[in-house]
Symmetry: C2
Subunit: 284 residues, 2 copies
């Protein structure tokens, strides 16, 4: 496994692999890798000839009051995990090299990033689209793998790639969960034992929405009420949103005809967690 | 010469050339080609193995009161000129295929695009950065050639490429001029015979600034006054700006120590013209 720090070198190496007509898969991460990230790398290994992971805690996607400074950094064990999976390249740029001193060009994110995370974390998606576009230029891969846990992020990146004709395919991979259902997240390590119990509320609320839908309740207002009840039971400390949305536009829906996505953001202790589930209605 | 209309096809063909390790040069244009454009294609032919020109009148860089609808379209003679130079590929996308129906991702241009054209043509550079980035994704070339006549545009594109790590080199090529000094421009064809005479005022003002600087006048205020006098003599109908700026940041300067750029935008009849000249002070 080659660990590369230099921006020119990663481009040169991957471009070289590309000329060989070998298929390249990239997994952009902020490190603090858990099994969710590792499943993306495994997928890249299965589907491509060469797997590249990137580790960079991107400052432009954190708000001024967010957890940039204390975001977990676990480089040694990250590299160990990647090595065990046979990851071919890891790009770990020095934090001061990714943005030039006078950096001022940003990617204004697509409409699908407007609500939900976009509203609650102003500037977040602008940071995400900008860094992802930069990584896609530095690492000319054929496929990029992202976790479906960040559902809106994947939708934003997909729309960006389509709008800007970026020659890469985006693959959204299933959320990896703890045995009890909690979605894996680098931020889970912030949770105290007591928080950890309450954090399960997100999963319980999502499965409740799916169960109610299967039982014939197709009204979003009622499904959302069910989710909020479940979150209150956990209890979580606050709910940013708990909504049923269109899987493509992420606009709120009134009625589920075929599919929808249930999305939740809630705070447990001082930790903000998000999760989602694709809902499928019973055939009529 | 291959004329390609389809977005997937241009990418596939150019990516194929690239795998052959052949060097690719691209010249993005809006058509209505004059000798300035053709000199860029010639340069691409000289320096690269394969030259690609693009012809697309990009709607997102025109303001609501600008000349999008009446922008000159001369496809047949454009193609003839390119064929004569031995251009290898011409990409002429159908106007409704470049932006998807729900296109909403834009490139927010760098700071160097804030003043001058950026101020007078709100949204112009956002349209430019967005289309140029899209073309750079569709056509993975090694070098892109732009005319120095659009000085600020080149500065904006250069900063974007650096900020976003786009793997392409930007070459700014000398402005091609009519025998009397008027910079070639697709918009010159709008000028009546009488306008055409007055349009020379831009060139006269620029050369006056250079002459005054050579004569020892290094104060920008005074150099700018000289340019305005010359423009008033032409006379042009209005002056958008006539300024001496830093060649990199394009911020106004007070004093020319070594080099600077004189930039002018002025209206002659209903035609808006721009021009510029790099000024060099006498060695001390």
């Amino acid at each position: 496994m080659k660990v590369i720090h230099d921006l020119n070198e990663i481009y040169t190496q991957i471009d070289f692999v590309r000329r060989d007509a070998r298929r390249i898969g990239v997994v952009p991460t902020m490190g603090a890798l858990h099994n969710g990230h590792l499943s993306l790398v495994q997928r890249a290994k299965q589907e491509c000839d060469v797997a590249v992971a990137t580790i960079f805690v991107n400052p432009t996607q954190f708000g001024p009051n967010e957890d940039l400074a204390k975001y977990p950094r676990t480089l040694e064990s990250d590299l160990e995990g990647l090595r065990q999976l046979g990851c071919d390249f890891v790009f770990v740029p020095p934090s001061d090299r990714v943005y030039r001193a006078n950096h001022s060009t940003f990617v204004e994110p697509p409409l699908v990033g407007k609500r939900w995370e976009g509203e609650l974390r102003p500037g977040h998606f602008r940071g995400v689209t900008t860094i992802v576009l930069k990584l896609f230029q530095l690492i000319p891969a054929h496929v990029a793998y992202f976790g479906r846990k960040d559902y809106q992020q994947v939708a934003v990146i997909r729309a960006m790639v389509d709008d800007l004709n970026i020659p890469i395919r985006i693959e959204a991979c299933a959320t990896v969960r703890e045995p009890d259902g909690l979605a894996m997240s680098s931020r889970n390590r912030y949770l105290s034992t007591e928080d950890r119990g309450r954090a399960l509320g997100l999963w319980l609320a999502l499965t409740k929405a799916q169960n109610c839908l299967m039982a014939g309740d197709t009204t979003c207002e009622s499904l959302e009420r069910g989710m909020r009840d479940e979150l209150a039971k956990a209890p979580v400390d606050s709910i940013d949103y708990a909504a049923i949305v269109d899987p493509v536009t992420m606009e709120p829906m009134r009625q589920v005809d075929e599919t929808a996505v249930a999305i939740i953001a809630a705070r447990v202790g001082s930790t903000r967690l998000i999760d989602n589930m694709t809902l499928v209605a019973n055939e009529k």
